[in-house]
């Protein structure tokens, strides 16, 4: 097994850090993360703060995407997947307890972006000379991924430049507004290997990282791995006060591809 690294089972070792838009109100953070380190699945979602019960909707999306990504080739299957999740969101809400302004807003539902990734083992009957594990992802909206190897950036997904983050992102809605035909998921599929670092982040941090890169000062993601959650939070608050980063919910997920069995390290800030 050691002779063929591709046959070694890979999983995530991971860490997540987050700071709410209003750091004094962490319960209002609409960014949600779900990681199953052993299964090599992870997802991040950014609930639209102006919509109602967006955090609940984002949580439903990431948990579902980690359980199993929908088949994007099959529109009917995707529609069923969405319908089940929408029903789950609706069941959580006690309409009778809502104020007039919330009832009015409920009609439109909640909105969220979504980015989900998974580690996929080589096909058993692969004819590839060097069968490799693959990193597959799907997303809608502006949550971003950075795939690094030895500190070198291999891929950005789905956003390539900070300018792309100036526009409203595509989002998934918790109510069927007869617009699902406009949903367009981005996808990628590429080889990965043990030791790779995969970064997931919501748009505020992605915008900052992309602008850093565009200014020739690429973000040093590795340094965050061992940083105390409080220190990271202070870093983000400092960037906000200097207006270097958008004042928005800010979430970072660091996923290291590891092959050895053992405890997965996990910690959440805020």
């Amino acid at each position: 097994m050691e002779d063929n690294p591709a046959l070694k089972r890979l999983r995530w070792q991971w860490r997540a850090l987050t700071v709410a838009k209003d750091a004094d109100y962490p319960d209002e953070n609409q960014d949600v993360v779900c990681v199953d380190g052993e299964r090599g699945a992870a997802a991040i979602a950014d609930g639209v703060g102006s919509s109602l019960f967006a955090r609940a909707w984002a949580a439903i999306l990431v948990e579902a995407a980690v359980r199993g990504q929908p088949n994007l080739e099959d529109r009917e299957a995707l529609a069923r997947w969405l319908a089940e999740l929408r029903a789950a969101w609706r069941r959580q809400i006690d309409v009778a307890q809502l104020a007039w302004f919330q009832k009015a807003k409920l009609r439109d539902g909640a909105f969220s972006t979504l980015l989900a990734i998974r580690l996929v083992p080589p096909q058993p009957l692969s004819h590839e000379a060097k069968p490799a594990w693959r990193l597959q992802g799907m997303g809608i909206g502006d949550c971003c991924l950075f795939h690094l190897r030895g500190g070198r950036l291999l891929r950005k997904f789905p956003v390539q430049t900070s300018a792309e983050l100036d526009h409203y992102p595509l989002v998934l809605g918790s109510v069927d507004l007869n617009r699902d035909e406009h949903l367009a998921f981005d996808r990628f599929d590429e080889p990965c290997r043990e030791g790779d670092l995969v970064i997931l982040c919501t748009d505020a941090l992605a915008d900052w990282a992309l602008r850093q890169e565009e200014d020739g000062r690429a973000a040093h993601w590795e340094e965050y791995w061992d940083m105390e959650a409080t220190a990271w939070k202070e870093r983000i608050l400092s960037l906000r006060s200097e207006r270097e980063i958008r004042c928005d919910d800010t979430t970072l997920v660091m996923l290291r591809i590891v092959g050895d069995p053992g405890d997965s390290s996990q910690e959440e800030g805020d």
Binding site: K21, A99, F101, Q102, K105, R211, E244, R246, C247, D248
Partner: protein
């Protein structure tokens, strides 16, 4: 690299401020833009609609987030010609100069029931259904147009607000009138307001003229040439140029703005008024 002006995000720490200045002079009794409805009725309806939408937009799972302060002032004179400049909010908010959007949402003066046309559940046709409509301001039309005094009061109010919120997105003032100032030249008063600033940029003053005729509206002109009369040119001079972010939003809404476009509308009908309110308060629309 510091971020450009007018880029401050709206939050509890960096609240926004929207101030509406409403002409309540007698001429507001006239119908708007050739319609059957009085200008004052349409204006009250538009402001109530904006307040309703903002309360809904700022609402979250636990209520309304305290992300913005709102002021609604009316100005007119009484039958003896005495100036009346006062907050226009009614009910529990009566007399308050600036209130949070949380107070707005929690304290409508009353809830009216009106029939509204909405798509049927199957989307096949428009049907009329009774809807509950919160009301904060009522139509008023009386006396003259003490515009300069209104702008002077607004300047003091905003200067105080800015002292308390020095790093917020700068206040946005939306002034809606149907006629000329009757207490002097408003241009210097408007400039004094525009000269106020937070660290994020200068105060934005947008002016909308309501028409009594069905004349063609002018929306967001970039130069005074071609404007129909002196009042239009005065309002142009009073109005702020639209910052870049408004240009992007305008393009998404189908407006073709020229460089230097001002936050101004002339001969506005109801559709233009609503568009103008939405455009002028666009930063509130991206609360997320």
């Amino acid at each position: 690299m510091p971020r450009p002006p007018y880029s401050q995000e709206i939050s509890r720490q960096h609240k926004a401020c929207f101030l509406f200045l409403l002409d309540q002079s007698f001429s507001m009794e006239e119908p708007l833009g050739g319609s059957d409805h009085r200008k004052c009725d349409e204006l009250a309806s538009a402001i109530n609609g904006w307040l309703q939408n903002m309360a809904i937009r700022a609402s979250g799972d636990e209520g309304i987030k305290d992300w913005m302060d709102v002021g609604v002032f009316g100005y007119r004179t009484d039958d003896e010609g005495n100036m009346i400049i006062e907050p226009a909010l009614l009910g529990e908010l009566a007399g308050k100069r600036l209130v949070s959007i949380t107070e707005i949402g929690n304290h409508p003066a009353r809830i009216d029931t009106r029939n509204q046309w909405v798509p049927s559940d199957d989307g096949g046709e428009m049907i009329s259904v009774p809807c509950e409509v919160p009301v904060w301001v009522d139509p008023v039309a009386q006396g003259g147009t003490p515009m300069c005094n209104m702008l002077y009061l607004a300047h003091g109010l905003l200067a105080d607000w800015i002292r308390q919120h020095p790093d917020s997105f700068p206040p946005i003032v939306v002034h809606i009138t149907d006629g000329e100032s009757q207490d002097g030249d408003p241009v210097p008063y408007a400039k004094a307001i525009r000269d106020l600033s937070t660290s994020d940029g200068q105060v934005l003053l947008f002016n909308c003229h309501l028409s009594s005729t069905a004349a063609a509206p002018f929306m967001f002109p970039s130069k005074p040439d071609g404007l129909p009369d002196r009042l239009a040119r005065v309002l142009f001079e009073m109005s702020s140029a639209l910052p870049d972010r408004f240009h992007r939003y305008a393009a998404e809404e189908g407006f073709e703005l020229q460089p230097g476009a001002r936050g101004m509308a002339f001969n506005a009908n109801m559709v233009c008024l609503i568009q103008f309110l939405n455009m002028g308060t666009q930063p509130a629309a991206i609360l997320r």
